[in-house]
Every structure is written in structure tokens, then in C-alpha cells.
């Protein structure tokens, strides 16, 4: 530990490391922008974003069906997980004894720690057959199970811990002061939750949803394994789709041999990065008002 005495040399390293971290977002954006430059030259931005024409050999890269799949899977996943998280958070903070939360917290944390590849395997083992054998036939549809729905179900489970943890923090911080006042005025517990707590928590709830959205949007492997990977505009949620991250992951090997293909995939990464950064930015702005209290 004697080397710590000489701070001048040490500080060079400390500030260098900090500098690397500060430079990271800029490097990521500039690097990906630099690599996607050639595809941006060859195609117009509106073609890239809004055309479904995907013909790498002809240099045509329309991302619309991929973006569409990504948005669809993400929205569907949120539709499943947000109500579950909301109810769970309200129950755990307003109704249940605090022991419950102590028991549930490890479950949430373990769920958050499970790698996405494991969720993917679970999707293949359980969700895909479930859809193919039971859910789809119920609607009179025949499918192999690899579908938008399968992707969304797997994704919804993956984002539950993220959304739930944020909601728990927010409800905990609000419920300390507010409800007594409302209950003192003669409101019932459910009325208090509905009119006071949920209203107060609204920006926080929105931000937790946006956080979940950005997680879901960038999730790669688990979705890729169950979503079917067919580039199309799916007509129903039982049809396969092909989200952006899956496109990038699936084509990393071949992309070097086709001109502009790698550039197109880097552009796809850039879209992902920008969207996720914007979501995160928005969510943090919304949540910042709570952070002074938490």
C-alpha cells in the first residue's frame, strides 16, 4: 500500500478511468454512427426506417418489419407485466405485512439475476409448447409456437423485476406520509389507493413502464430464441416476428461478405442505442422528483 503515498501518479490513473467512462456514451454513439455512415449514404433515412424491403444483396435495407416486430413484442410484454407489477406493488406496500416483502424481495432479485439465455431455454421448454398445444388451438389457430406472443411472454417475465423494484421504491416513499391524511378524512383503503396514492405515484409509474420498455426493447437472446425470426409484418400475435436485436445477433457472421450489410447492422445497433438512451433519459427525468425523497 506504500504506492498510495505518491498521489500524483495515482491520480493520473483515477482520472483516466473516469475519463474512459465519461467518454463511453460518446464513443458508442460516434463509433456506431461512423460505421453506419455508408448505409446512410446509400439509402435515405426514411427508406431505412419505413421500408419493408430487405434485400442485402441489392443493397436495400428497410428496417420497418424489424422495428415493427420490436415495438409489437415490447408493447405486448408491457401489457402483460405492468398490471402484474402494479398489483404486486400495491399489495406488498399497502396490504401485506412487511414480512411478505422480505420474503418476496429475494425472489425478485433472483429473477433479476437469471441470465437471458436461461429465460430463452425456459421459453422453448415451456412457453412455446404451451402456445402451440393449448393457447393457439383454443383460438382455432395452428402454429409451431415460435411467435410474437411467445417472445412477449418471455420478455414480460424478464422485465417484471425491473418494473416491480422501481414501483416498490415509489410506493414505499409515498405511503409513509399521505394515506393517514386521507384515511382520517374517512376514505376507505381502496379509495385512498385509487385517488391519492396512484395519483401521486403516476409519474413514477410511467417512468417504471418506460424503464421496462427500454429493457425489453434491447433484450436479445431470449426473444430471439422463441420469436421465430421471420421478417414480416405479423398479422396476429401467433405469427412469428423478427425484432431488431435478433437481426443483429443472427447475422453477425455473414455480414462481412455483403457490402454495406455490416454497416446496416451497425445502424440497427445505433437505432437500438438511441431509442434506449431516450427512454432512459425520459424515465430518469420523470423519476427525479421522487429521488429527493427516497
Amino acid at each position: 500500500m506504500r504506492f498510495l503515498k505518491n498521489e500524483k501518479v495515482l491520480n493520473v490513473f483515477l482520472y483516466l478511468f473516469l475519463g474512459i467512462i465519461l467518454a463511453m456514451p460518446v464513443l458508442l454513439i460516434v463509433g456506431l454512427l461512423f460505421k453506419s455512415e455508408s448505409v446512410l449514404h446509400a439509402n435515405s433515412l426514411s427508406d431505412l426506417l419505413f421500408s419493408t424491403e430487405w434485400k442485402p444483396f441489392q443493397g436495400k435495407f428497410g428496417f420497418y418489419s424489424y422495428i415493427y416486430s420490436s415495438v409489437l413484442v415490447t408493447m405486448l410484454a408491457l401489457l402483460i407485466s405492468v398490471p402484474i407489477c402494479l398489483f404486486a406493488a400495491i399489495y406488498l406496500t399497502q396490504y401485506a405485512k412487511s414480512v411478505y416483502l422480505k420474503v418476496i424481495q429475494p425472489v425478485i432479485d433472483i429473477l433479476a439475476g437469471i441470465p437471458s439465455i436461461i429465460f430463452g431455454v425456459w421459453g422453448i421448454l415451456v412457453i412455446v409448447p404451451l402456445i402451440s398445444h393449448y393457447v393457439a388451438p383454443f383460438f382455432g389457430i395452428e402454429t409451431a409456437g415460435y411467435s410474437i406472443l411467445a417472445g412477449a411472454v418471455v420478455l414480460s417475465v424478464m422485465i417484471i423485476p425491473f418494473i416491480l423494484n422501481i414501483l416498490l421504491e415509489i410506493f414505499k416513499s409515498i405511503s409513509k406520509e399521505l394515506p393517514q391524511a386521507s384515511i382520517a378524512l374517512g376514505a376507505t383503503k381502496w379509495q385512498t389507493i385509487k385517488y391519492v396514492i396512484l395519483r401521486k405515484a403516476f409519474p413514477g409509474i410511467v417512468s417504471s413502464v418506460v424503464f421496462g420498455m427500454s429493457r425489453a426493447f434491447g433484450e436479445t437472446i431470449a426473444v430471439l430464441m422463441v420469436v421465430g425470426n421471420v421478417a414480416q409484418i405479423p398479422k396476429s400475435i401467433f405469427e412469428p416476428g423478427y425484432p431488431l436485436p435478433a437481426l443483429i445477433a443472427n447475422n453477425y457472421g455473414e455480414m462481412l461478405s455483403i457490402p454495406n450489410y455490416d454497416s446496416a447492422l451497425m445502424f440497427a445497433s445505433l437505432i437500438l442505442l438511441v431509442i434506449v438512451l431516450l427512454f432512459n433519459l425520459a424515465a430518469r427525468m420523470l423519476i427525479s422528483r421522487y429521488e429527493t425523497k427516497i
Binding site: M1, R2, L4, K5
Partner: protein, 251 residues
């Protein structure tokens, strides 16, 4: 009376709040100087200026000079750890280092370049004896310092400070978290220590000041109202505010 520290025209603000206003003060060598005053009067801030811990705070502007043996420590080129080393600090509640009892004292020696095990062991024993802690802990030196009682911890902190051979000991209400017995032990120690050290202690307990002070400084709202020897201050106060304070009107 020789002065150890000489503060000249010291002004300090944090943000737009002026905390210290035009402080001029000589702190006598080998005496116990007590800084008295109601809470929020700037006495702790003044103490932090002396060892420049004030540097760790945000938005601070300081003007003026603090001379320590003719070196202006506010505008010095010599290194800060060296200056801080000359001034041991005892804070309101004890903060032992997160290590065992032995290492708490050895730490200060090691960072100052002493690695000889024999010297370190002697210093640990000597300084623990200095604060009357040796008999209590000599068989549990490898235990975490956090297991000691608060009173023992504060004495350990004093021993830790003495081990790096300071010239001055700064204390910020060092007995406020302690039981009466430990408080008395610390007070007694302070009186003994003035043979070798210059002591500066912040307090708001009048009786404590009466018991151990040689020199008293009374601060109010960032200004020094009055300062003088203990006899002058307690028996012949000149300022109305001092008289009021001594009569207990502020508290």
C-alpha cells in the same frame, strides 16, 4: 505567552452565507484554549479551517491568513497531509477506523512511512497507556475497534491522534456523546496533555470550559465577541453579550 496559531482577518462563506466574519485570534502555545458559543456560531467551521478539513466542503470561499509557527497554512505550498498531521482531531462522536484496535493506532504511523514492527508496537502500547486504555485492551488488540464502548472509542481516537506526534490537538465537543465518567477522563487528559501540546477545544458546555480552560474565545453569529484568559473571561467579562451568555440567557 507565546502564540502557536495566529489567525488574521479570516473571512469564510459557504455559498452566499458568511459563516466567519473577520476573525483575528492568537492561540497560545501549551495551553487549553476553549472556543465557546451557541450552536451555529461558526466554532466548528473555525476549527475545520485550522486543519483545512474545510477544503472537503463545497462552495467555500476563504480570505485571510492562518499562521502556524509563521507559516501561512491557508496559502502554503507544503503538502496538506503534512499540515493535518501536525493537528490531531477529536470529533463529536468517535470515528474509529474500520480495523482492529492495534491497526487503528498503527495506521497513522504506516501512512507516514513507519513500517518497523518494533517501533509500531511500542508506539501502540505507549499511546494506549497515555489515554489509560492499555489495561482495558491489551489482551484484545486484534479485536475490531467498533466493539469498544463509545468512551473507549473516543480515547482510542485520542491515542490514534497522539501516535502521529502532532503539535496541536483540536477537539470538537469531544465529550458530547460520552458518559460522565468517560467525559471526566478526557477532560483530565486534556489538562495533562498541555505540557506537550497546544489544545483547542470547541464546546457549548460552560461548566466544562470553566473546569479546564486557560484561554477562552467566545463566538456569536460568526464573530469573536470576546477572548481572554480564563480568569479575565469568567470573572471580568467586558462585553454585554458575554455577560448574558455566562448568565445562561442564551442557553
Amino acid at each position: 505567552m507565546k502564540s502557536k496559531i495566529s489567525i488574521q482577518n479570516l473571512n469564510l462563506s459557504i455559498g452566499k452565507n458568511q459563516i466567519l466574519k473577520n476573525i483575528n485570534l492568537d492561540i497560545p502555545e501549551n495551553q487549553v484554549t476553549i472556543i465557546l458559543g451557541p450552536s451555529g456560531c461558526g466554532k466548528t467551521t473555525l476549527l475545520k479551517c485550522l486543519n483545512r478539513l474545510i477544503d472537503l466542503e463545497e462552495n467555500v470561499t476563504i480570505t485571510g491568513s492562518i499562521f502556524l509557527d509563521n507559516e501561512d497554512i491557508l496559502h502554503t505550498k507544503s503538502d496538506l497531509p503534512g499540515i493535518r498531521k501536525k493537528m490531531g482531531l477529536l470529533s463529536q462522536r468517535p470515528y474509529p477506523l474500520p480495523m482492529n484496535i492495534y491497526d487503528n493506532i498503527a495506521y497513522g504511523l504506516r501512512i507516514n512511512g513507519i513500517h518497523n514492527k518494533h517501533i509500531i508496537r511500542e508506539s501502540v502500547e505507549h499511546n494506549l497507556k497515555q489515554v489509560n486504555l492499555w489495561d482495558e485492551v491489551q489482551h484484545r488488540l486484534k479485536e475490531p475497534a467498533s466493539r469498544l464502548s463509545i468512551g473507549q472509542q473516543q480515547r482510542l481516537c485520542l491515542a490514534r491522534g497522539l501516535a502521529v506526534k502532532p503539535e496541536i490537538i483540536l477537539a470538537d465537543e469531544p465529550t458530547s456523546a460520552l458518559d460522565p465518567l468517560s467525559s471526566t477522563a478526557i477532560e483530565k487528559k486534556f489538562v495533562e496533555l498541555k505540557e506537550e501540546y497546544t489544545l483547542v477545544m470547541v464546546t457549548h458546555i460552560l461548566r466544562q470550559a470553566r473546569r479546564i480552560a486557560d484561554y477562552v474565545v467566545f463566538m456569536y453569529l460568526g464573530e469573536i465577541v470576546e477572548h481572554g484568559t480564563a480568569d479575565e473571561f469568567f470573572n471580568h467579562p467586558k462585553q454585554e453579550k458575554t455577560k448574558a451568555y455566562l448568565e445562561g440567557i442564551f442557553n
